[in-house]
């Protein structure tokens, strides 16, 4: 009895675990927060992207500034917040709020995807007949419009898509990264039917693009933050492989759902 009471006391005195395991695009991340407020907001935001603690890359999240590690393999600063990736994990420092945390996760994923045959693309992804249709374009191109014209439960993201080659099949994943900072709630994946570069027009039609034209169309919409030559070379390799495997189209579309007719 005494042993049980002592054990209960020691649990009470121990600092609470401020940890959250998530998985985005089959990449497990193990977030460890210095601040409980961060944990609460992140738990709500990434609730459908829960993952395994054991498998995830440890990420220490702190609102305070920390010096860059000597073992850093990748570092990027956005406003005052910094991603510092090492072999044993990552450090997010100077993280003031959940918006900043979200941005740092995207930056980290863009780097981690390089060794996982994938990339992040400014694009809305909509599932239809079991396949993913990816609509890319810069702000104002119509990504949100396409998403809003699609049935509820079919949109994997309306803002940032994650594409990966798994077992020689290019797949699109649901992400928590939505426009207007909505939390994504569809953690699914589907084989990619096509990528569509959006142009608003007075008619609905598609034009198939060559690999080179496809690269020209999507490169401005890739999320990428490394300035290392070898990282950019790897990105170029992944993109070329993707665009040789996935059909890419220029989609001229009106702001109505009938544009799906020309995608059949």
């Amino acid at each position: 009895m005494e042993t049980i009471e002592r054990s209960a006391l020691s649990r009470k005195d121990a600092p609470p675990r401020r940890e959250l395991a998530i998985e985005i695009g089959q990449i497990p991340l193990h977030l460890k927060f210095a601040d409980s407020a961060h944990l609460e907001k992140a738990s709500a935001r990434y609730r459908v992207f829960s993952g395994s603690r054991e498998k995830g890359l440890p990420i220490w999240v702190d609102s305070r500034q920390n010096p860059q590690s000597k073992d850093s393999t990748f570092s990027y600063t956005l406003n005052s917040a910094t991603v510092d990736l090492r072999k044993d994990g990552a450090q997010f420092s100077g993280v003031p709020h959940e918006y900043s945390l979200d941005s740092l996760i995207r930056i980290l994923l863009s780097k981690m995807l390089l060794t996982r045959s994938g990339f992040l693309l400014h694009a809305a992804t909509v599932m239809r007949d079991g396949q993913a249709h990816i609509f890319t374009g810069q702000s104002g191109a119509g990504k949100s419009t396409v998403a809003s014209l699609s049935p509820i439960g079919s949109v994997l993201t309306d803002e940032i898509s994650l594409l990966r080659n798994l077992d020689n099949s290019w797949q699109a994943f649901g992400t928590p990264f939505w426009g207007e900072f909505h939390a994504g709630d569809l953690n699914e994946r589907a084989p990619i039917a096509g990528i569509y570069s959006l142009i608003q027009a007075k008619e609905d039609r598609v034009e198939r693009l060559s690999t080179r034209d496809a690269l020209r169309a999507i490169l401005p919409n890739i999320l990428f933050f490394s300035s290392k030559q070898e990282d950019n070379a790897q990105l170029l390799t992944i993109l070329t492989q993707a665009l040789q495997a996935i059909p890419v189209y220029q989609l001229y579309f009106q702001r109505h759902a009938e544009f799906w007719e020309v995608l059949k």
């Binding site: 070379a233 990105l235 170029l236």
Partner: protein, 106 residues
């Protein structure tokens, strides 16, 4: 040394900038400059010359191959080659051979 001779020596000392990532796609060279995220796409002539540069050919050899490939006179090919090399160097896509550390082809 005449002005033309100096230009020839300078051109022959140029090689693709090792800080760039590049790849041949559908016959054209696409280059990413990681420093400023600028993407360059070379036309067929420039792509041809870029590939010859990576095979360590001299300006004269490149011009000869250009003349053979595009069926132009050697004089025209040499002038075009020099002009293109200077243009690519001006965009910092080429650098002096002694500053180059390794291959960048992906």
């Amino acid at each position: 040394m005449s002005f033309d001779a100096a230009r020839t020596v300078k051109s022959e000392a140029l090689l693709p900038n090792p800080l760039l990532a590049w790849r041949e796609i559908d016959g054209a060279i696409v280059i990413i400059s990681p420093e400023d995220s600028v993407v360059h796409e070379l036309n067929p002539t420039a792509s041809f010359i870029w590939k010859q540069l990576n095979s360590n050919h001299s300006t004269g050899e490149i011009a000869q191959q250009l003349a053979d490939e595009f069926e132009v006179s050697r004089e025209t090919a040499l002038a075009d080659t020099k002009e293109l090399l200077e243009s690519l160097a001006g965009m910092r896509l080429l650098c002096a051979a002694d500053r180059r550390k390794g291959s960048v082809h992906v």
